[in-house]
Amino acid sequence: MTPRQQLRTMKLIRAFETALAVRRDHGFQLLSSGEEAVAVGLCAALGAADQLLTGGRSIGFALARGLDPQRLLAELLGKSTGLNGGVAGRGHVNDAASGFFGAHAVVGGNLTIAAGLALARQLAGEKSIVAVAFGDGACGSGALHEALNLAAIWRLPLVFVCNDNQLSVSTPRKYALAPAHLADLARPYGIPARTVDGMDVEAVADAAREAIETVRSGRGPAFMECLSLRFASHSTTARETRSKPELEAIRARCPIRAFEAKLIARGDLDPAQVTDLDLAIAAEIAAAAVFADASAPPRLDEALANVW
């Protein structure tokens, strides 16, 4: 991804989620406004043959991985044209053919799966790798450590990507997790680990490239912690627990505006192009909504299909 593509993807995520948030016909969603740089930075460094697994907060990662916004929206709205026929929905959307192995809404539940998938790649002698994204919340789970240990001892081609938005629902990471940096969790296992600014897409992409290079070269797993900020409440129906001033301060640190300003300052982008970009994205989102709305719901017999 070029810097401009990165900016575009971040904007696409924001616009997609913003449009989704105002709709009332999807129960609720876990959005990632504020955290776009983590998804886009990581995906900028992943290859087409690599696989990405995420937790339940997955829309940003799915779009950054290049999934079709129309089919993603259709999936989240429970339509038959969705990526999974409208069956998986929020928290479980997947499209392995596009390198998005899938979201999984059990916190920490994707980590050992990712290790198994990485083992499959290793055994198959493939060069492609696996990345698994998870929140700070997942760092309290034993599954992370079991996966870290196995990945280290078997030198699995696996990048652990902690999107540390410093909150698990209402619980600040500092009340739930003892380590000074969550990247420290990887160190006992001898896994190279870094903490990066998750609000800076280029910093994330650089760190991801470095981590992925290590991993792809066969030296075993790597760990990166991306410090990010969640702009909205846990979900579209969850109560916000932070104060207004706190939230304002947080939202002032927009990774998209910051990157846009940087690109303009650098001369990589001019303001007129920004307008074009924004318009194009708005049109894309509108088209996605039209597509999804025009799509049929799944047939009821899908409820019993694909069980066995």
Partner: protein
């Protein structure tokens, strides 16, 4: 409980979540050793606000936010209980209890046995089961697994009064207990005794008297059962509805007596039928009163999608219960007297 009826005397109208909070609050005031542990149970007050106000009153030492670590949450609860406290461990969704079964079953439920009666772990694990748009890994009802664990009790209230009464009883138990509520119960309100009262574990309740068929259910499915009973009444079938309330121990006596009277038993549950609550209820009743006509109603054998259409297709509803009752009664249905006496003894708001 009583829907649009005016509140009964000596009761207050509470939401399900309020009934839980009140019970826990009263028990925490009464017993300084009651401790609440769970994800977002503190200032946030729990996913359904069922712990609202506790943090403010009792502070962070007694109302503790935990990391997302269900195994440790349950294990810590067991250790705390064995160490003389009475923890209430909140596991947000019952699906995640899978991660904490080892400490609960292998340590907590067996501690009294393996210490020859000298130790015990009186913890309450409170967890929310059931489907409400949350998808494959946040909708499961696994209470049937718990029912077969010697040393572990299980309750599942269907209304605010029982939510209150059973929570109070749970927090006074002498061994481990799982308290199962349901996402769809939280929006409901009902009459709860004004005075402090403690429920009885192991006692089912006949919520509606009937003569043609006995219908058992627990938790949210009690409402579905009551709806079905009403519809069946319209069709001239008199259905006795029993709210199991306590799954372990199970009040076989009450169910068997009813089934004896009606001659037919229909069980309803939201969890998978296979090796489920209904299979057990039927087996125990048959052991008590001999073979009888029985049928089970439950979800389709499939994961529960977050897609509302697919969810509704899987989870049982009143229509399916009505159909099952008619199929069960078969020939007798045709002969069923029109004006069966129907007494609504309470229940279901």
């Amino acid at each position: 409980m009583s829907g649009e009826k005016p509140g009964k005397p000596n009761t207050e109208r509470l939401f399900f979540r309020e009934a839980i909070a009140r019970a826990v609050r009263e028990e925490m005031r009464r017993n300084a050793r009651v401790i609440v542990l769970g994800q977002d149970v503190g200032a946030f007050g729990g996913s359904y606000r069922e712990f609202d106000g506790l943090f403010a009153e009792f502070g962070p030492a007694r109302v503790r936010d935990t990391p997302v670590a269900e195994n440790a949450m349950v294990g810590v609860g067991v250790g705390l209980a064995a160490g003389g406290f009475r923890p209430l461990v909140s596991i947000t969704y019952m699906d995640f209890l899978m991660l904490g079964l080892d400490p609960l079953f292998n340590y907590g439920a067996k501690l009294r046995f393996k210490s020859a009666g000298r130790m015990t772990a009186p913890l309450v694990v409170k967890t929310t089961a059931g489907a409400k748009g949350q998808g494959v890994a946040h909708s499961q009802c696994i209470e049937s697994w718990l029912m077969g664990v010697p040393g572990l009790k299980v309750v599942a209230p269907s209304n605010p009064a029982d939510a209150y009464l059973l929570m109070k009883a749970a927090l006074r138990e002498t061994g481990p207990l799982v308290y199962v509520d349901h996402k769809r119960l939280f929006p409901g309100a009902g009459d709860v005794p004004l005075d402090e009262e403690v429920g009885a574990i192991g006692v089912a309740q006949i919520l509606r008297a009937g003569t043609d068929v006995t219908l058992t259910a627990h938790s949210f499915m009690v409402r579905v059962a009551l709806e079905a009973a009403q519809r069946l009444a319209d069709d001239g079938i008199s259905c006795e509805v029993i709210d199991l309330r306590s799954l372990s121990p199970l009040d076989v006596e009450t169910i068997a007596r009813s089934a004896q009277r009606t001659g037919a038993l229909l069980t309803l549950e939201e969890g998978q039928l296979t090796c489920g609550v209904g299979a057990e209820v039927s087996a125990r009743v048959a052991e008590r009163i001999g073979p009888l006509r029985a049928a089970r109603v439950g979800p389709l054998p499939a994961p529960v999608s977050s897609n509302p259409l697919l969810e509704a297709a899987v989870v049982p509803d009143a229509g399916r219960v009505v159909a099952a009752a008619k199929a069960l009664l078969g020939a007798r249905f045709a002969a069923a007297a029109e004006d069966a006496i129907i007494t609504n003894e309470g229940g279901g708001d």
